[in-house]
Symmetry: C2
Subunit: 354 residues, 2 copies
């Protein structure tokens, strides 16, 4: 067996705890969590205690509390840590990503790649010019890219099972109020980046289309609005989009629903000349699964796969450190998701070439 990769998690919030920690556990003996960092000593300590109680692992925690031996610099100076997973507020990430790269660590950072296209390009340029040549790897954690259910749908389409693609429709309307655990994350309550939840959550749904469709999305026209004041600056996008091969579709994303029942109409469908597929979530054995229905004529073939994108993205990242690259999480790929949201927020109904 190859050596276990020593990693650290930078960030101790909800997603670090609920998604990345279990993914590390699932990776088994390929990886060992050697540290956690959070700006706040309390959060870092809580994360470490949570890891201890749920996974029975001892994780030294680092923070900005003043003790230099417990600082982020100290963490990054450790030679037994080869890579870091960055799960921090959107606006904080770029600086920390560069800091980690500078310290010689490989980086897997949460989506979006950055707050906007300009910041993302600056970060990508820095990486490509200064750190990539040194063999350092930076990838963005876009779990929708590696979700087995979505990759199954991609294969159904690529295999021509529904014929030549015609049009698609993605509709996701979510209910968010002050009691939502995501809303209560302070940096999400008052987001200092375009789109609010539309950027933070929306990139997943452009990544979904980008993953499944055989041709890149090259044009978008959209209206954006704010319907729930607490979700400023925007909470809703209605968009039409077109791919290089002429396939076109509809993209509706809103976090501004007045009621959770509106989600009953959420659906993602892709229609071809020979059939159509529907992609959605379903619960099975208490866990989220991806359900793919392939419809041809009057017949429907259903495939249900466990949702495990976060585990898969870590798995691929670790394989990449071992030299096997399948291209997942490429900064220039996930940049397209931010570019799409940015275009949709600014389109005002005008056609924007991506």
């Amino acid at each position: 067996m190859s050596e276990r990769v020593g990693i650290a998690i930078l960030g101790a919030g909800i997603f670090a705890k609920e998604a990345h920690l279990p993914a590390i556990q699932a990776a088994g003996d390929k990886v060992v969590l050697r540290a956690v960092y959070s700006r706040s000593e309390g959060s870092a300590g809580t994360f470490a205690a949570f890891a201890q109680s749920t996974l029975n692992i001892d994780v030294p925690f680092y923070h900005d509390g003043g003790d230099p031996t417990k600082s982020l610099d100290s963490l990054l100076a450790r030679e037994d840590i080869a890579a870091v997973i960055v799960v921090l507020p959107i606006n904080t990430q770029p600086e920390i990503i560069v800091k980690a790269l500078k310290a010689g660590k490989h980086v897997l950072s949460e989506k979006p790649v950055a707050r906007d296209v300009a910041s993302a390009l600056k970060l990508i340029k820095t990486y490509e010019e200064e750190y990539k040549p040194k063999g350092l790897i930076w990838r963005v954690a876009e779990n929708f890219e590696v979700e087995p259910g979505y990759l199954f749908a991609k294969k159904v389409i690529a295999d021509g099972e529904i014929g030549k693609l015609q049009y698609f429709n993605l509709s996701l309307v979510a209910f968010v109020d002050e009691s939502s655990k995501w809303y209560q994350t302070p940096w999400r309550t008052k987001p200092e980046y375009q789109g609010g939840f539309l950027l933070d959550g929306g990139v997943h749904f452009t990544a979904l289309l980008r993953t499944i469709l055989p041709s890149p999305i090259t044009e978008v026209s959209a209206f954006a609005s704010l319907n729930k004041a607490i979700l400023a600056p925007h909470d809703t996008i209605n968009a039409i989009l077109r791919c290089a091969d002429g396939t076109h579709g509809i993209w509706e994303l809103s976090f501004g629903s007045p009621s959770s029942t509106r989600g009953a109409l959420n659906a993602t469908s892709i229609t071809g000349t020979e059939g159509w597929i529907q992609i959605g979530n379903t619960q099975k054995d208490g866990k989220t699964h991806i359900k793919v229905d392939v419809h041809k004529g009057d017949e429907t073939k259903t495939t249900v796969l466990p949702s495990c994108g976060v585990e898969k993205e870590l798995e691929h990242f670790l394989e990449l450190l071992g030299g096997r690259d399948e291209g997942f999480g490429e900064p220039r790929s996930v940049l397209k998701d931010v570019a799409f949201i940015e275009a949709a927020l600014n389109s005002e109904g005008n056609l924007i070439k991506l």
Copy 2:
């Protein structure tokens, strides 16, 4: 009781038989069907026989078969016929509408008002300048404008039950193949007008939004395509639209589905700050009904009303002949539906002001 209005149906196709004839019957003693005309003697005769067998009424039939006493001119010369219902191919209607007006008849003509905006404006100008001043009435039969279920939805919104409107989503994907009775109508098989079924059927769905929404649709951006060769020139539109009050929405219309099962995702929803409504069709006692669900919080209030727009449009037309005008079927109102389809077909993703 006031005198029964003597009317004639010009056109003997599917919709004349299956919708207008029953509507005339439902109007009871307010109206009497005095004649039917079709270009073909066979069709006119079949219609008359159908009326005889189903409604037990004797309807003299007129046609272009050569007998001058049976010609359209002879029909229009009859003094016991005050109004005509025109149910003819889209491209034939304008000439016949003008002919009927010239003969001093009131006219209720099937949607769309004309094949395109230019033809419609020409027709409207002719009517407004030459026939309206003479007291002649011309209205367009847009049954969605007077469908009780849609008017109920309009009232729910107007009464503020779902708060301030935010966004809406209308998705209608239909399956049409060579065996469809509509497709087999020769003028629909090879349509000599823009959009094919998208114009013919699509105007209903812009009329639906126009009827329900409190503010006029003023902007559209769309992609149009042809996915089933038999449905040329176009069979699919993906559009975003915005109203004067800033409310925006999505409009997906396709007759190019590869399978009838895709219709399972069809839905029309309008979301406001306090709730949302869903509008759809349902079958009850073997008849089509309109179902309106009003969702507030976790609660849903459902109203189901029989679909009877064609009956209602005749009822309103007859009331109008009696002097009571509620504005339904105004040529300049239904022109907006053609303008919307025309804009969507030509937009190529660019914003068009309506």
